[in-house]
Symmetry: C2
Subunit: 191 residues, 2 copies
């Protein structure tokens, strides 16, 4: 396959992903019909489903993109920074909301849950690695297992996603994230 063709395919894929993200954010997962996905991407259903097996695969590809981007931030600055970024932009609330709407599906469809878990595993692993490095550097509290600290930070992230997706007031959450951050650090480092 000539090179230009591969570039073209990649660009097309990106075009589909960004259109679909806007579409899911606006209409929710169920509301994002094939027709609306065509409108949002400017492409035919044939073109869209040439790149993605089905709507579910398209949605999961977006979730995977998120996990990639968040994992990059985690590696450099930690999971609390991911939360601070979410709090600062807020404009992701519509998209985050469409993820929440899938909670029933996640709970009741084991295959979908497995595909989703595969993607979120990347973020868990990045968080774990970051915490291990922080412990090595003496910045982390050492009385609690890194696995527990990882689950703790992820639980707070889930709370923040839910909070923002519900459009609840978020102006007072900055000091809450400070508390979360300090509760995984060495006591001496925060004193």
């Amino acid at each position: 396959m000539p090179r230009v063709s591969q570039d073209h395919l990649d660009a097309r894929r990106q075009q589909i992903l960004s259109g679909a993200r806007v579409c899911f954010a606006r209409y929710g997962y169920e509301g994002a019909t094939v027709r609306r996905l065509e409108e949002a991407t400017g492409l035919s259903r044939g073109a869209i489903f040439h790149h993605f097996r089905d709507k579910e695969s398209l949605f999961l590809a977006l979730a995977e993109d998120d996990a990639h981007r968040m994992a990059d931030v985690v590696a450099r600055e930690g999971l609390v920074q991911v939360m601070r970024d979410l709090l600062a932009t807020k404009d992701g609330a519509d998209w985050l909301g469409s993820r929440l709407e899938l909670s029933r599906r996640l709970r009741t469809d084991p295959e979908f849950r497995a595909r989703w878990a595969e993607r979120s595993e990347r973020l868990t692993e990045a968080t774990r690695q970051r915490l291990l490095r922080q412990r090595e550097a003496g910045n982390l509290r050492d009385d609690i297992d890194v696995g527990v600290l990882t689950s703790y930070l992820e639980l707070v992230l889930e709370g923040l996603v839910s909070h923002l997706a519900m459009g609840l007031p978020a102006d007072d959450l900055e000091p809450v994230l400070d508390l979360v951050e300090s509760s995984v650090r060495r006591a001496t480092a925060t004193a």
Copy 2:
């Protein structure tokens, strides 16, 4: 109105609420059609909407019941205990999931958000009062504002609700809740 009649009305109201809770949990908010609400409660739509203005009011009455019950636990044992109870029973996940599905509605419908907020305000206030008493008793850390600690605990609760509603593994969350509890306590109390 004779006394027996009022008792009858109260019992009827309870019958509707418990049937509706099962129905919302099974089918989600949108999926809980009037027909299914009739089946689940064993009552006609006429009887149901004699007691509740509409489906939304019925749903909010259930959310209010939850807030009442949680506020009672909070007053006696604190919000972390509410989370431990959720973790121990888990069978509330289906119902909790139906709440998550309303996130888009909460975000985009200010009137609905206001009605919802009125109900959840009770839980916030109970948490705040409990924390103030704990601070008075010297059990609470005193370097962080009670408002921030309240928001922190509520954010973790939101994360837990989301986590359980998505059916994610929760076996490892007990030590996470221990960490949450210790992070609002006086350092000396946990040492």
